[in-house]
Homo-oligomer: 343 residues x 2
């Protein structure tokens, strides 16, 4: 049987963004990467929540960082009487779930499961820290397995030679797509919009491709429609932070306008992710608006004069009519049909 | 009669980007503004051409800088015998016209007219430098008059309260729109995409609005579709580097994808400019591709690791079906009908 994490050596330094070391959570600082490879050390779950809020890691990064924050909270709780320990853990879960005004119902589900694992272990008098850590590791393996499966379905759809346009940083999804394409002899190139204000496309996605020897071109965020109009990319692929059960794709701002341009040019858009049971309809989506100052700086340098305001919606919403397929660990769905994922 | 340059005090420091001082052309360095207000001093037309190629000034800036470069060339030519002087001037015109692989047929027409003025003055034994300088000034006044007229037609179309989404830096056009709106008691706000890689939206457009006390918000280039989907702007307005006679609008990269998003949301897009007799059809458009390295830096800092390539098409093309109106000094045209401008 194939290992779920096969090929991960290439990807681990990006995806496996957080590590647990004796109560501390070490988070790769994606704000600095690739200029500098630095870790933010968090000695408790409060610091983990702050690091998530400060965008030390983003995309799928908070998923693991928050989980390890729970393990750290369990270690801390061990020194308290059972009742107080359990109360503390519930509080930690709340803090970590709400570290960012979350667009993702998946984060809550994920952390509540970890909480339950920890509480049960405490009740049974087991080594709750070890049990919770092991549970988080199993979840991570499962996440890699899912990523690999989604990448496999995606690569099935690709012709033998293709240039993919992507957006932001789709983490192991894009890594596995590039890896599996190569294994099958498909010749893939990548075009990454830089993805302001954090430049995840330029800094993270392009670095993964570059490390793998895949030809990669970075453009600015105003160029995708031109690229598509010239036939320079033949498919648009992104991850999805949320896929509502009525088929809307919530992903990093900019996804929607690329999807619109792809649609106009007859180029397919594939969104990869697990449909969000916690966000059944468009009406349940809350778009996180981050600190407006973040749009007024680039690489740490201010771009505007005093008195100019900014605005920073972190995500946008692509209607199902502009999504060619939703690719999930259970296969490929038409966007109008994603609720069948849970049947 | 209204002066063509009424209200210009606000705008001059951006639009009147180049000055002529005893043979030298001083060009405001828009790459540094507003962080620093610096001028690049060009002592001859070669240096002017290099400054244009280096993007010291862009948008309409090269129009004036190249014209003053011709005046500088005339001053230089005065010391030569007539035949050699005329040859020198023709060469100067060629160098300035081709300073950037031009998308604009208007630049050639403009410089050839200045060349003719200078050659005629030399033939008549007049002070060719003074005559040419005066001609350039008259052209500039005419340019302001045209900008003001186009802004007037645009403001006619705006409701009493509106937020305008724009792109890049439409120079006096956007300045006059804001100015005339205020004169008529219309309450206008502005949203500017920052317009990477040079950030003209953040640095120039937002500065003009800010100096005029107009509420202005800067977003990154991946946000316009979201802004439009939320009804946060009710019109999209841009200048046009070229308007072909079959109705295509060539403007700074990003215009096309904003126009697509505006169209999808039923929001009008007005393109302002003079139709380009030198670019009759879409087939005559040549999109300038600039140094790819420029997309791999932001505010002077490199954003990608070694091995990652860039790509930089400076303009894109919006088909007539996504343009609600072309607004010219002779009035408002349907994009399919712009050739009537010359009748």
């Amino acid at each position: 049987m194939e290992r779920a994490d096969e090929g991960l050596p290439f990807l681990l330094k990006y995806e496996n963004v957080a590590d647990y070391r004796d109560g501390e959570v070490w988070i790769l600082d994606r704000r600095a990467y690739p200029a500098r490879e630095e870790f933010v050390r968090c000695s408790n779950y409060h610091e983990v929540a702050k690091a998530i809020a400060d965008m030390v890691t983003q995309s799928g990064g908070p998923w693991l960082a928050a989980a390890l924050g729970m393990v750290s909270a369990v270690r801390e709780a061990k020194s308290f009487p059972l009742k107080k320990a359990k109360q503390g853990l519930k509080h930690a879960a709340d803090v970590l779930i709400h570290a960012r005004p979350t667009t993702s119902g998946n984060m809550e589900t994920h952390i509540r499961r970890i909480l339950k694992t920890a509480l049960d272990a405490l009740d049974r008098g087991e080594d709750a820290e070890a049990v919770t850590y092991e549970y988080v590791q199993k979840n991570l393996e499962n996440r890699y397995r899912n990523s690999r499966t989604m990448a496999m379905y995606t690569v099935d759809l690709l012709p033998d030679e293709i240039t993919i346009l992507t957006q932001c940083y789709a983490e192991t999804l894009i890594g596995f797509i590039l890896l599996l394409s190569r294994e099958r002899g498909k010749k893939v190139s990548l075009i990454c919009p830089e993805t302001r204000p954090y430049l995840q496309g330029a800094r993270l996605t392009a670095s993964v491709a570059c490390d793998m020897g895949v030809p990669v071109t970075v453009i600015t965020d105003n160029m995708p429609a031109y690229i598509l109009s010239k036939g320079m990319a033949q498919v648009f692929i992104s991850a999805a932070d949320v896929i509502t059960l009525d088929g809307y794709v919530v992903n990093k701002t900019g996804t929607f306008q690329i999807a619109l341009a792809a649609h106009f040019h007859g180029i397919p858009y594939y969104a990869l992710g697990i449909p969000s049971a916690g966000t059944p309809t468009l009406n349940d989506v809350v778009i996180e608006e981050r600190n407006p100052e973040e749009t007024l700086h680039s690489m740490g340098v201010r771009t505007v004069k005093a008195g100019v305001k900014g605005y920073y919606p972190a995500f946008d919403i692509t209607p199902p009519g502009f999504v060619s397929a939703v690719i999930t660990p259970k296969g490929i769905f038409a966007p109008c049909d994603v609720k069948r994922y849970f049947i």
